[in-house]
């Protein structure tokens, strides 16, 4: 059985239907891609899967448990993590605090009011490990606002990983990144693919085709094509937009 499954998701806002009927399933250990034109409903779909929106119809099952309509914090605690397209960090906090806040080890201490945080060896060790993974070692005490754009993206992913998730949703991880930063991101995701199940929304086709095991194409609120990158090469819609992307 798939690790994460969405069945017949339908989402409307008032009278406008954004997601018609979406069914997706993500196997453990795979890198899954979601693509589609702007306004196709990709981000709305992510919001539904991670609990930000409640789907109007349909069900979402994670690891055998029905999580439809559960609040994001519950879903997050079960091991579903996500990053955001518009960066969504704790801006007054330094880099390492962004990571620490997301550590399950830290979350367990939520009711402690007199113990300190920044000289707690256990927390620091775990945080450094995550920072190492996303390549932010050496900048851990910088204010997160002072990071370069690419590094903020990396931190965004780091926060998602710090929760030690079973599945990670990345919303447009390459958005706004230059060529060099994108290349680094490819390396990072190749490193991560052994440890996590990954789902990415992405408009950069080459990036997605290089990394994904399985790709779903969303258009008009529906899944119009699904398959491995090889299978999708022959898809008409994909070809058209791939040409556009290359040119």
């Amino acid at each position: 059985m798939a690790l994460f499954e969405a069945r017949n998701i339908h989402k409307r806002f008032g009278s406008s239907v954004v997601l018609e009927d979406i069914s997706l399933s993500f196997e453990e250990g795979q890198v899954n891609g979601i693509m589609g034109p702007n306004g196709a409903g990709k981000t709305t779909c992510f919001h539904c899967l991670t609990g930000h929106y409640k789907p109007s119809r349909g069900s979402i099952v994670f690891d055998g448990t029905d999580i439809t309509g559960k609040p994001p914090q519950r879903i997050a605690r079960m091991g579903v993590s996500r990053s955001f397209q518009m960066m969504n960090l704790f801006d007054d906090a330094c880099v390492i605090e962004n990571i620490i806040l997301a550590l399950p080890e830290f979350r367990r201490r939520y009711a402690q009011v007199t113990s300190s945080v920044f000289n707690d060896k256990v927390l620091l060790t775990q945080a450094y490990e995550v920072l190492d993974q996303v390549g932010l070692l050496g900048q851990e005490w910088q204010p997160s606002l002072s990071l370069s754009y690419g590094n903020r993206r990396a931190l965004e992913i780091g926060v998602a990983l710090a929760a030690n998730p079973r599945i990670v949703f990345l919303d447009e991880p390459t958005s706004g990144l230059g060529v060099e930063a994108t290349r680094q991101l490819v390396k990072l995701i190749q490193k991560l693919r052994d440890r996590y199940t990954i789902v990415m929304i992405e408009h950069d086709m080459r990036f997605l085709f290089e990394l994904a095991d399985q790709i779903s194409v969303i258009h008009w609120g529906q899944v119009i094509a699904q398959g491995t990158p090889d299978e999708l090469q022959s898809n008409k819609w994909v070809q058209r937009s791939a040409l556009g992307a290359v040119a």
Partner: protein, 338 residues
């Protein structure tokens, strides 16, 4: 830029040099307050309002929840203390405990209505509840004494079992409150640097992200609201003890606004010490400006407006910038300091 969430290099300590200096100033105050032209009772007032302001800033500055009705809990504490002395028995700890609990319960009830609200609706709801308490205090004269309030509340002795201290003098009362202030300052300092405190700050910075990394945001808001109401209740209990009376005025929108002004002017949005600076500045302004001109509130108001316009980081932000050039911020791993 300075923010509340900057990590102090001494965040892991119980007593930092600042706290030590603060404690020294507080404890020595009775010896120099007279000579500098002020009087003992202002020390009592300042100390009481510091307790109120520290608790308020947990909510206002640290969690970013802008309550405009916090005078209500100060008032609830004041009435609870007074009613306890008048009807239950003359006891210091009983009265203070009653004040803290009553304000805590009031705060918890209000918090369950407001902790799912955000931004302006949160502020509006806190005002509405604040007015509700004020109105109740004015109208329920058979309990509260109406507009006149509770009068002739006895000042109980401090009874420590082996020995007991008479608190009828303002200096003795001051020492009791100053001791409480020191303990509360240390606890608050620890709290804002503890996991619980850092989560509150995370919620201020980005509520959405906080819930996506697994935190029940409303629970934290509920707890911190209740907690700050309890601080206010303690301050209120001490206030009615100091005044030997409790009246509805402290619950008015005016008072609730004053605490916001004090905390902001002092720099509560950017610094732990902000609320304390703000309280001291307000009371000194009241007495020094008040001695010169009857319209001192006009000048205080103008100063506040100017502060919001040009320096919303307040006095603490201003001071931080003054010392910034001479002391460049260099980060070291706190773990290595041990």
């Amino acid at each position: 830029m300075v923010t509340l969430s900057d990590i102090s290099r001494r965040s892991g300590q119980w007593i930092t040099p600042q706290i030590a200096v603060f404690a020294l100033v507080l404890l020595s105050l009775p010896f120099w307050i007279g000579p500098i032209g002020l009087y003992q009772y202002i020390g009592v007032e300042i100390a009481i309002w510091i307790i109120f302001a520290l608790g308020f800033n947990l909510l206002f500055g640290y969690t970013g929840l802008h309550s405009f009705g916090h005078g209500a809990y100060l008032g609830v504490g004041a009435y609870a203390f007074g009613l306890f002395q008048l009807h239950v028995g003359v006891s210091l700890f009983g009265g203070l405990l009653a004040a803290i609990l009553a304000a805590g319960v009031a705060g918890a009830v209000v918090a369950s209505f407001v902790s799912h609200r955000r931004g302006i609706y949160f502020a509006l709801m806190t005002i509405a509840f604040g007015q509700l308490f004020w109105f109740g205090a004015v109208k329920m004269h058979w309990i509260t004494g109406g507009e006149d309030g509770l009068l002739n509340i006895p000042r109980p002795d401090l009874n420590l079992g082996v020995t007991s201290f008479d608190l009828s003098g303002n200096t003795a009362l001051y020492y009791l409150i100053a001791t409480l202030v020191i303990v509360i300052t240390i606890l608050t300092w620890r709290a804002v640097n503890s996991p619980f405190g850092r989560i509150l700050q995370a919620i201020r910075q980005n509520e959405v992200r906080a819930s996506f990394i697994g935190y029940e945001v409303w629970w934290f808001k509920w707890v911190v609201f209740t907690l700050s109401a309890m601080f206010a209740g303690l301050a209120g209990g001490l206030f009615s003890m100091a005044q030997e009376s409790a009246y509805p005025d402290v619950m008015s929108l005016h008072q609730s606004g004053l605490i916001v002004m004090m905390v902001l002017v002092g720099g509560g949005l950017v610094n732990f010490w902000g609320p304390i600076l703000g309280v001291v500045l307000y009371f000194i302004a009241r007495d020094v400006l008040g001695a010169i001109t009857e319209t001192w509130l006009l000048w205080y108001g103008l100063m506040f407006v100017a502060m919001v316009m040009f320096k919303p980081e307040g006095l603490a932000g201003f001071l931080a910038e003054l010392k910034r050039p001479s002391e460049p911020e260099t980060w070291t791993k706190p773990a290595e300091e041990q």
